[in-house]
């Protein structure tokens, strides 16, 4: 494992935006190295640049400094290399669920028939049976997120970026969706980078949690989650889990107090 280049490597990536009031440092140089098949989460206060990192990895934003490497190859500023699920589900209302899910393949010039044939069994297996030919406005929030996630997975990249996919869901749906996501992750063997505000969600899902700080956005700690897989719901109550959670919350709290002090000073 260690002899191979990591699946995704973010090397000293920094981002500075020019604003009318001067330069705004959104990201201090950040380095992340994620091996094949890992589930890694980023947590942090809002405005810490989580979405900016994702936009840079997806090639939608040119970083001010640093490089993005995928399997050791420079992929900075190139699009279509990773699957990216934005915060909104962005399902196209004029397409059926099936045709929404195959969008990535369609853009990669896979024939419609072949793409639909590949997508249909997956829709059946992953809880969208009976919804294939409905339009998105007939779906509940959870179902829409399932469709959006399947669209990301069917795009056939090894790395997928998920930006708060369950942020807008109610608590019960969120729990079900987490199980569902873990199922997909182990079936498809993808490398996942996951952004969330929810500390418990991050720990429950991930192999590693990166805690971020703000002004400028940076990684202040990398916390491994050595809990055994497959994980059961009850594991969130174990001492080991709670210790990790406490550590994360403490770091976030310290960071929050620090940035408040900066604000008061400014």
């Amino acid at each position: 494992m260690s002899s191979l280049a990591p699946k995704l490597c973010v090397a000293d990536v920094s981002m500075t935006f020019q604003t009318p009031t001067g330069a705004f440092h959104a990201l201090a140089p950040i380095t992340l190295s994620i091996p094949q098949g890992r589930f890694v989460s980023l947590i942090g206060p809002s405005g810490c640049g989580k979405t900016t990192i994702f936009n840079i990895i997806a090639g939608l934003l040119e970083p001010t400094g640093g490089r993005v490497l995928i399997e050791g190859v420079d992929a900075t500023g190139t699009i279509g290399r990773v699957g990216y699920m934005l915060q909104k589900d962005l399902l196209l209302p004029w397409r059926t669920v099936l045709d929404n899910v195959i969008l990535g393949m369609e853009i990669q010039h896979v024939s419609l028939r072949a793409a639909r044939e590949r997508a249909l069994p997956l829709l059946h297996r992953y809880g969208l049976a009976g919804f294939e030919y409905l339009y998105p406005n007939a779906l509940s929030g959870g179902m829409r997120q399932r469709a959006a996630l399947l669209r990301t997975l069917l795009f056939d990249t090894d790395v997928i970026l998920l930006d708060e996919p369950f942020g807008a869901l109610d608590a019960q749906t969120k729990l079900r969706m987490q199980e569902w996501l873990l199922q997909l992750w182990s079936d498809f063997n993808k490398t996942v980078l996951f952004v969330t505000h929810d500390v418990e969600e991050a720990i429950y899902l991930s192999d590693e949690v990166h805690v971020m700080g703000t002004r400028p956005g940076r990684i202040i700690a990398n916390i491994p989650v050595p809990l055994a897989r497959p994980r059961i719901r009850g594991s969130v109550l174990t001492g080991e889990f709670l210790a990790i959670k406490e550590r994360c919350l403490e770091l976030l709290h310290l960071e929050g107090t620090a940035s408040e002090q900066i604000n008061e000073a400014a």
Binding site: N55, I79, V82, G83, L86, Q87, K88, L92, W94, I107
Partner: protein, 292 residues
């Protein structure tokens, strides 16, 4: 107010003590009892016969008035004369030439103006710089009363069908341009992000996102445009033409043939209603095809 509140709470206590009947009598100045106003719907046949009744009544009054001399039949004509002229108009063979002429100018102007305008509006998506440069001109064009340009258009395009199509196009083009552009501006930038993250080309984003997203905007002006195109065609015919319902109205007015004016106006309204209904139908079909 405060006094009333106290007395009401007193009443409430009283109700507890002495039961409901006495409680109500204890209340000061009871609110008037009011029910939800109910409007009873007439049956369809009753509504239709009322509508037909008004039409027949109006026409009869007009006819009687003209015969009795209350209404000057020279200026206002009368229903019986209009009916006779109508028969003559359709009998002489001019009617269908005129109707077809006006119909063709309207339809061509509608199709060209709507298509070209929509494409122009959509094209603003391709380049922000291009949109910024061209936009003031489009707004300028919008503010010009296009009908004021009609005499110029007739001079350039001659007195045939082409000039009527041109006036109708001028009226519809700007409306479609601005509406399609409004659609482009309403596009969610995150939608474009999604497409680009999937490795899409500009053309793919345009075809698979921009066009389907803006279609409802484009469709929504079809009914407005068919009316505008007809207005354009008629005004074109007013200025200079050898055929068309507009020319028939102008000619009849100049020769004091008021009955013929009415006939042409009636035929024109029928034509307008038929086209409006057709476009509405096309619109609803398109809407079914384009979910949003």
């Amino acid at each position: 107010m405060a006094v009333q509140d106290t007395s009401r709470s007193l009443g409430a206590t009283a109700r507890l003590d002495r039961g409901q009947a006495s409680a109500q009598s204890a209340r000061p100045a009871a609110k008037p009892v009011r029910r939800l106003p109910v409007q009873k719907d007439w049956r369809a046949w009753a509504l239709i016969s009322a509508q037909i009744g008004i039409l027949i009544g109006g026409l009869s009054l007009w006819e009687i008035g003209a015969r009795a001399g209350w209404i000057d039949a020279f200026f206002w004509s009368q229903p019986s004369a209009i009916a006779r002229t109508m028969a003559l108009f359709f009998g002489s063979g001019d009617a269908w030439t005129d109707i077809s002429f006006t119909f063709r100018s309207t339809i061509f102007g509608f199709l060209i103006g709507t298509t070209a305008g929509s494409l122009l509006g959509l094209s603003f998506w391709w380049s922000r710089n291009y949109a910024a440069i061209v936009q003031p001109y489009v707004i300028c064009l919008e503010s010009i009363p296009k009908l004021a340009l009609a005499p110029l258009i007739i001079l350039v395009f001659g007195i045939g069908l082409l000039s009527k199509v041109a006036v109708a196009t001028a009226l519809t083009l700007v409306v479609s341009t601005l509406t399609a552009y409004a659609g482009v501006k309403a596009l969610d930038p995150d939608g474009e992000k999604l497409f680009y993250s999937l490795g899409a080309s500009r053309l793919q984003v345009f075809r698979k996102l921009v066009v389907p997203f803006c279609l409802p905007w484009i469709i929504s002006v079809l009914r407005v445009n068919i009316g505008l195109a007809l207005t354009g065609a008629i005004v074109g015919e007013f200025i200079a033409s050898q055929h068309g319902l507009g020319r028939a109205i102008l000619y009849a007015g100049q020769t004091y043939d008021i009955a013929l004016v009415w006939v042409a106006v009636l035929v024109l309204s029928t034509l307008a209603m038929v086209m409006y209904a057709t476009v509405s139908w096309v619109e609803s079909m398109l809407r079914k095809g384009v979910r949003q």
